[in-house]
Amino acid sequence: MDLLAEVFSFVFQAADVFAFLVLAASGLAIIFGMMGIINLAHGEFIMCGAYVTVITVQTGMPLPLAILCGALAAGLIGIALERTIIHRLYERPLDSIVATWGISLIVTQGTLLALGSTWPGIGTPAGTFLVGEYTYASYRLVLIGSAIAVLVLIYWVFMKTRYGVFARATMQQPAMARALGVRTPIVYSVTFGIGAALAGLTGGLFAPTMTLIPMMGMTFIVEAFVTVVVGGADVLLGTAPAAIVLGVIKAALTAWYGQLFGQIGLLITVVIVIRVLPEGITGWLTRRRA
């Protein structure tokens, strides 16, 4: 019984890290996979989702609805940003990194000016459960469930909807897609919007568990990068497996050696993976399937 409780504890920790990585990275990975752009303002979309969620809860909206508001707000801002700035930079991937970096700087400092250095939080929804002698916060289960739901949603959107067909066509053969009548600029805008909305959703989901500060995106961004680097260009084939692998590694290292080694372990994994699998897990899986 004791062993079972230990096993559950480990699995739960790993699943918790997995959820964090999937939620932190999926928006970034979609934008990168579809458009080849690394959005360095990704953390600021997360921050935006968190702030909107908390503020709407404080005006009396129930949390689930407020989280959706956060995602929606981030998504709309994402589309606006794509229309005004990002779409000029598709041919220049390095410049798009630099530009989104500038945006990130403006947004964090602007938020600091406008809303101050912290914003009162709303507290984690109550509820715990017990396995063996360990207690767990129920909200963690919500996060794990949400991560899985996000993956299913991504699968559905990109594999089963009309937009998904257009998006994949645009990604693989932009010229051909245009010739077939796909309005590629709209596809790019929507894709960027989806990526931003997922970031906003992540912010909303984690908002109750965190202190709200303008720089909170930082908490997510390194792990998101790491997951995307290890995973490669495809969200489903790359990000999800990468999050599982990294989740297990980090949970194990954290359990045995503490938080710091969990962090360092992630980075060492990245260094090894880039040396062994230059195209990430996506490249490896694609080659094996072919």
Binding site: V98, G102, I103, T108, Q109, I274
Partner: protein, 362 residues
Amino acid sequence: MPRFLKLLHGDQTIGRGPAFWVGFCVVLLGALLYPLGADDYYVGNTAYFFIWIFMALGLSLIWGYTGMLSFGQTAFFGLAGYGYGVISINLGSAYGLTFFALVSAVLLAALLALLLGYFMIYGRIGGVFFGIVTLSVTFAFSQFLAQTAGPQWRIGAARLNGYNGMGGILPLSLPWFGEEIYIEGSILYYLLLVMLVVCYLALRILVNSRFGNVLVAIRENPERAEMLGYDIRKYQLAIFVIGGALAGISGAMYTSWGQFITPATMALPAVAMPIIWVAVGGRKDLTATLVGTFVLLYVFQTVTVYSQQYALILMGALLLLTVLFAPSGYVVAFAELLRRLTAAKPRDNAVSRRVIRRATDD
């Protein structure tokens, strides 16, 4: 004139001919005379600006000349800064050992660049991934140092002291007939000025040499460069290490100047600064980088007096505007404008604007 001196100007640097070198000498003379007329505070402050320029020149080599966008400069800066601190605290300042600490710190930064660069470049990490891997490493390094607050985090007599930073670091000093001369004030100013001029001229020679030719070839078309028989990974790694060492000079000099360093020098927003200086000035040219960095440091400091947030927003906006409207940088754009205005012969309209610079060069 020796052959290598001819490389002071060439295709890879703006500015040649008597007009440029006369201007260069005037600026240098002004810089040499500056401490004689200016208040000590301003001299120290200008020296502080000089400190950062090495790091920017390094990034210009890595990103502007070779095409690898790196966010690693502040990590090398930080490692050398901490390295200088730890070594100088442990060895003390006798026999000019602080200069040994300076050199070791720079080598330490170069070593980290070699390791990191090896894994990335030989792991065929390129393009956008090069940027985010270097950024992740830099963040992780600063987070690591931020949690070294406990007393167990010490190297010899030096306590890392976590987020609050390491203090009590010795400034550069030289023994002089039984006394110790501290390298500060105008002595520091002149030391940095000499180092800067030497670095700047040496790098001009480097980028106009055959080695520099290969760097820009790699930036323009790595496959073609390899198909001319160049082992491009060696060149990329070499320039990454040289750039890292330059960041190391900045880091060690910074720590000697302030006798203090914190992990914040590597984290946000500090990590964004080299990118901004280099991009806004003109990453593909050493002179543009140097001038741009100096001007931006001055502007940033001036605005920071009113509000740090406004200063950072201004920097972010400048970066964005550069990418959108003047990708080659404002100093470069200004230099081209100047050249076009002074060019005597009327332009033929068919030739694109970009040619003008090269054409009048030759």
